[in-house]
Amino acid sequence: MNTTTTPRLAVSGLHKRFGGLIAVKSLDFNLYPGEILGLIGPNGSGKSTVMQMIMGVVRPTAGQILLDGQDIAGRPTYDIARAGVGIVFQHSRPLRLQTVLENILLGLLPDSLSRLRPPPGAIETARRIGEECGLGEVLDRLPATLPFADLRRMELAKAIARNPSVVLIDEPFAGLTSAEVHDFSALIRRFRDQGRAVMLVDHNVKSIASLADRVLALYLGEKIAEGSSEQVMQDETVRRVYLGGGIETHERPEAEIAAHKVLLQAEDISVFYGKAQALENVSLTVHEGEFVSIVGLNGAGKTSLFNAISGLVPFRGAISWDGAKRAGESAAAIARAGIVQCPETRELFGRLSVAENLELAGQRLPPGERASRLDWLHELFPILRVRGTQESRTLSGGEQQMLAIARSLMLKPRLLILDEPTLGLAPVILGQLSEALSRLRETTDITVLLGEQNVTFALPHADRVYVIEHGRIIWNGTPTRFAAEAGTGYL
């Protein structure tokens, strides 16, 4: 692959601290011309921060980023772009009054205050790049009329317009169908064959395995593995991070679960955001008293599914609740019927105290019941009693998450939906949270739907597991069968 040993991009000692949090810890790696490097890591691993530091969007705390021997670390973004680094952001906001051709042309304009016309030949170049990226048919259309995949192509075209020697692509395949993934892979390979150094940033190895020449895995800001896709997938540390090592599962017998009545039934749920399909014909069953985990990476569609169940986003398909088919109830009515979602963003009232947050949630309960429920919650999460008078925004991340869960429980849910409770939490906190979930499961007959990308956290409590990927359920079964049957697919 690389005939030369001189790296195009040489990163050494790259370090980034946000306040007390170390996002990237003295990272070293090289990116060679004519290779595709995959940078992978779960949420919070620091991969996005690395990409943003290369692009100059985030300033490194320490370290060097040499582009062809020149240190670009800490230089302004426009300077780095002109030095030969192009980026394809995951989300794009095209110029909506301009055609696709003009949007590509934008990438070819000089950064000049006095040039009112595009440089000679630029329009032809833009046309050629557009055609190369498969946009030949739609060059004269407005972005708003394009399908999602074409919008992504347009972003690729913009990124290579300045003929960069390094191309960074954030989640190259998010929101694309498998046929489109194939086309995009071919396009990205062509960038490599043109001699560019390409870096793909994604959550897991699998999605980029067939494309990347080399993969580098990050976890908590540190490099944990580097090598070919196969090597990284076989790596012990990677397997532990993604799959959890030696997880103890506590599932109840299937027959016992099946004896309970079905509480929630979702059939063929599809969710669209504009042109991007977030969920594709997802079906799901939750029995009364069951603990169901939905395992999937960031962007796989977990939150979209939960929002559809909670009536927060429009969807196609049918949802039955407690035996009755749902027909256009408002989100508020759905919540009153017993579905309570604890969102990944927590949505606490930051300036209210812990006690006030809980009290607010208990408004609909009679005073006696409110008091007894509060006592029960304090038993479940003792720290909340200690922190009672503290403003909730001053709590640590883990305490905030416990408060968010407690607040949801205050609403007496029949079904509690927990969306990524572990997001951004330190491993030691996960233990405490996990214990609280165990107690909840053992001492009550609550029904829980847990969405997680952290398998180590999701499996121990679950009776049943669904694996969601690219908006589709690709596996479901018991947690004990997970590692053997779905583990590889999850790496």
Partner: protein, 306 residues
């Protein structure tokens, strides 16, 4: 960058000739109303360049207008500069104000910047009242010279000024520069990732917007013969400028002119109903903005992007 169909160009030419020949048939009163409307049109078009294209929230267009108006008025009344030179001084004062406003704009955005622009208007207004000795205070500042005493000549000056300003602003908006401005206005990081120093472009947008706002303010002073807070600085004037631009259609430049003429002419037509006229015009504007967010120009069938 886009080409305009020939048929539309021809229609535009006919329309402009009719406008230029207006003084032959219309009386002084109508010409006066239109003269004011034309200056107002430049206010609205300048605002549209800054907000519609560069995405900078400016709730205080009268800060720039007022600087131009008072800069020109004071240099004529106090220093005795001839009208053309006084207008240049006013325009320069406005550009200086625009660049000064760009400094907070680089740190703040959205509603916070909007608040600063509002405060800048209040500060200017206070300064004018406090230094009443040289500014004329709340009564206003009379200028010894005027552009012309003929309403037809004043009309032609205003028309020519509006057309030239509008053409320049329109060309900028459709040029490479306009595209970069729009990109930076939508997403500064993405624009920087394409190699554009968005800061420089935004400062330029502030300066250009200020230049035309200031020029129009200065011309208006020499048309009215006075510079007064109620005519060129008051917040309510700024609100009308914004309404005019949004009413006509944001991100179009020309929409600002259409909206201004519509607002001012409608206000005059409804004058017989007295105090109610302002209310009715505001109500119409509100309805149009709510029902047609793309403004009056958005109602045209062949507009790109509609």
């Amino acid at each position: 960058m886009s080409t305009i169909p020939k048929s539309r160009l021809a229609a535009l030419a006919v329309f402009l000739i009719v406008l230029a020949l207006f003084p032959l048939g219309a009386n002084g009163y109508i010409l006066g109303v239109l003269t004011t409307a034309f200056y107002f049109a430049v206010f609205a078009m300048s605002w549209d360049l800054l907000f519609g294209y560069a995405g900078e929230v400016n709730f205080g267009p009268t800060f720039l207008i007022g600087l131009g108006a008072y800069g020109a008025g004071m240099s004529n009344a106090l220093l005795g500069l001839p009208v053309p030179l006084a207008i240049v001084v006013g325009a320069l004062a406005a550009v200086a104000g625009g660049v000064a406003l760009a400094i907070p704009a680089l740190r703040l955005s959205g509603p916070y910047l909007g608040l600063i622009t509002l405060v800048s208007v209040l500060l200017l207004q206070q300064a004018i009242v406090i230094f009443a000795g040289v500014t004329g205070g709340e009564i206003g500042l009379s200028v010894p010279d005027v552009l012309s005493i003929s309403s037809a000549a004043n009309y032609e000056y205003a028309l020519a000024f509006m057309l030239v300003s509008g053409l320049i602003l329109f060309l900028i908006s459709r040029s490479s520069l306009g595209m970069i401005l729009q990109a930076a206005g939508q997403d500064q990081v993405a624009a920087a990732a394409l190699g554009f120093n968005a800061t420089r472009h935004k400062i330029l947008a502030f300066a250009v917007s200020a230049l035309f706002s200031g020029l129009a303010g200065a011309f208006l002073v020499f048309y009215l013969g006075t510079a007064s807070v109620s005519a060129v600085v008051d917040i309510s004037i700024g609100v009308r400028v914004i309404i005019a631009a949004v009413l006509g259609g944001r991100r179009t430049i020309i929409g600002g002119a259409i909206g201004s003429v519509f607002l001012i002419v409608a206000g005059e037509l409804l004058r017989p109903i007295g105090q109610l006229s302002t209310f009715v015009v505001a109500l119409i504007a509100l309805v149009v903005i709510v029902l047609f967010p793309d403004g009056l120009l958005g109602l045209l069938p062949h507009r790109r992007g509609a």
